[in-house]
Amino acid sequence: MKGAIVSSSREDLDVQRFSIWVSIAVPLLAIVIQAYLPLKLKLTPIFDLPLLVTIFFAVARRRPVPGMITGAVIGTLQDALTHQPIGLNGISKTIIGYFASSIGVRFDVENPGSRFLMTFGFWFIHQFVYYTINLELVEVHESWNWGHILLSAFSNGFLAIVLFTLMDRLKTRS
């Protein structure tokens, strides 16, 4: 599908396009899988597929506004599946989308090592923003478990290497 969402901000970088169907179906699929897999596999809530998809699209498009909006929409949909106020994931992923697209302009984010480090760092930022909003706005205190967050960050980092490689096939370079 041509045409759809064209994203490029630097002339010297590849302009990466995603069809409109990919832009809609992949985030939705990530949310569906995120909701369905925990029924079958006990460990899956440790992963955050919607976050990985947000990072991938934001980094690939290299434009802050689409990256930010992608994060906001994915986060809001994710919130809609919980019983918590809508906006916790929305705000967190908006910020992640913005910074991920900014990083995509400045750094090489195509190799596995940088993808791992980027996802590892964004996981921490996401958790910190979520934790802060939850505490300050919703007034729900939850413990900051370093061990669990480190484990999640590593797991999502490794998953990102695999997932981003697969999702690279969805890009249309020009």
């Binding site: 939705l28 949310i31 569906v32 995120q34 909701a35 369905y36 897999l37 925990p38 029924l39 079958k40 006990k42 899956t44 809530p45 440790i46 802050p64 506004v65 930010m68 909006i69 906001a72 809001t76 949909l77 994710q78 809609a80 599946l81 919980t82 019983h83 918590q84 106020p85 809508i86 906006g87 916790l88 929305g90 705000i91 908006t94 910020i95 913005y98 909003i133 706005l137 919703v138 007034e139 939850e142 413990s143």
Partner: protein
């Protein structure tokens, strides 16, 4: 600038939800109903398709595998059935006695009268929100706060209802709560989940004796879960350092909360009092109580004299033993005193009232039956129409 704008809008929306959620009139609205309904309407068909496909393949494979070992399983089941028949006979006797005691105590209970079977089609996908989705919704008669159970134990309650699906808040979520009672020690508490999704009872005093392995059942006090449903077993009990005089009791859930596939939603519960069972009144609860209270039982030879010499008994309008040809049961000192105080005020034929019951429906008192062949002067279990 755009980032600030988007964040500002979302923060305002979040603050509005929190403000509205505090309203007791619409505890769930929060202004986000539409977003949740749309999201669930879009995702429910996909999740149903995924669940259905998975079930089909697992069912086909399972049917093939099940053919192996059916004979051995059948033999084991027969042996199990024989054992259960014996246990059932013992339990029936205990249930009958319990039932009679409940009649005496005017016990009210919620009884499950209707359930709807549902399949689990999804979850929240987050560790912070222990939510599952089932494939039954408002069109199937599901409403908020209905209890969700499995044959193993309770699962949670309906949190939100959509046209074709519903959101279930698991008992392991930190926002959930259920009234429970420890089956052996009869200690009552509130079951809650923690951040790790573990079940805890946190409001039992630390001087109570709680044993590991003790079963926990629902108390029925929360008006959501019927009384007596399995909840889990005690895994550990230790002093809660965050709230010092209380215990922190860990519970292993009876239902497999992380492997849920099929659940039952209790769509209708009726409040009822147990009716007196007239078919098997061989040993009545009052008799059981009478045997356990030393002041009520008397030697037979003294009973006869006491019954004849009691003037209050004839004055209170009760049938004379000589006239009816039956032997009047003996009265205990407690009954004598009660009859003496009630007799002058009570007109003939009036229903006997129990002190301390207030406006409750009357329950007739039972005289203890200490000898075979003696008919008591009153009966148990007359209840007003429900």
């Amino acid at each position: 600038m755009i980032l600030m704008g988007v964040l500002f809008i979302q923060i305002i929306a979040l603050a509005t939800q929190i403000k509205r959620t505090e309203s007791p009139v619409q505890p769930n609205a929060g202004g986000t109903r539409l977003i949740r309904v749309w999201t669930m309407s879009a995702l429910t068909p996909v999740e149903k398709l995924l669940t259905g496909t998975g079930r089909f393949f697992r069912g086909a494979w399972g049917n093939y595998i099940d053919l192996h070992g059916v004979r051995r399983e059948n033999r084991e089941l027969k042996e199990q059935l024989d054992r259960m028949k014996l246990e059932r006979a013992q339990l029936r006797a205990e249930v009958e006695q319990t039932h009679r005691l409940e009649v005496l105590l005017d016990f009210r209970q919620h009884v499950v009268s209707q359930t709807v079977a549902a399949q689990v089609i999804g979850s929240s996908g987050s560790e912070r929100s222990r939510i599952i989705y089932i494939d039954r919704g408002a069109h199937d008669g599901i409403k908020r706060d209905m209890a969700v159970i499995t044959p193993d134990g309770i699962v949670g309650k309906i949190k939100d209802v959509f046209p074709r699906s519903s959101q279930v808040l698991l008992i392991s979520d930190r926002d959930s709560g259920a009234g429970v009672v420890l089956e052996q020690s009869r200690l009552r508490g509130v079951l809650r989940g923690n951040e790790q999704g573990e079940l805890q009872i946190i409001d039992i005093m630390s001087d109570e004796n709680v044993h590991s392995g003790e079963p926990v059942v629902t108390s029925g006090g929360d008006s959501i879960y019927p009384r007596g449903l399995p909840v889990g077993t005690v895994t550990n009990a230790a002093a809660d350092h965050d709230s010092e005089p209380f215990l922190r009791i860990g519970i292993r859930p009876a239902a497999k909360l992380d492997q849920l596939e099929d659940v039952l939603v209790i769509t209708q519960m009726v409040e009822q009092r147990p009716a007196a069972d007239e078919s098997s009144p061989s040993v009545r609860a009052a008799d059981v109580l009478a045997q356990r209270l030393p002041s009520i039982t008397r030697p037979p030879e003294k009973d006869k004299d006491a019954g004849q010499a009691d003037p209050a008994q004839t004055n209170s309008g009760q049938p004379n033993s000589a006239a009816t040809g039956q032997q009047t049961p003996p009265a205990s000192p407690l009954q004598k005193l009660q009859k003496k105080t009630e007799a002058p005020r009570k007109p003939a034929g009036a229903v006997e009232s129990t002190p301390g019951q207030g406006n409750k429906p009357p329950v007739k008192r039972v005289a203890p039956q200490t000898r075979p062949g003696v008919t008591p002067d009153t009966t148990v279990g007359e209840k007003p129409p429900q």
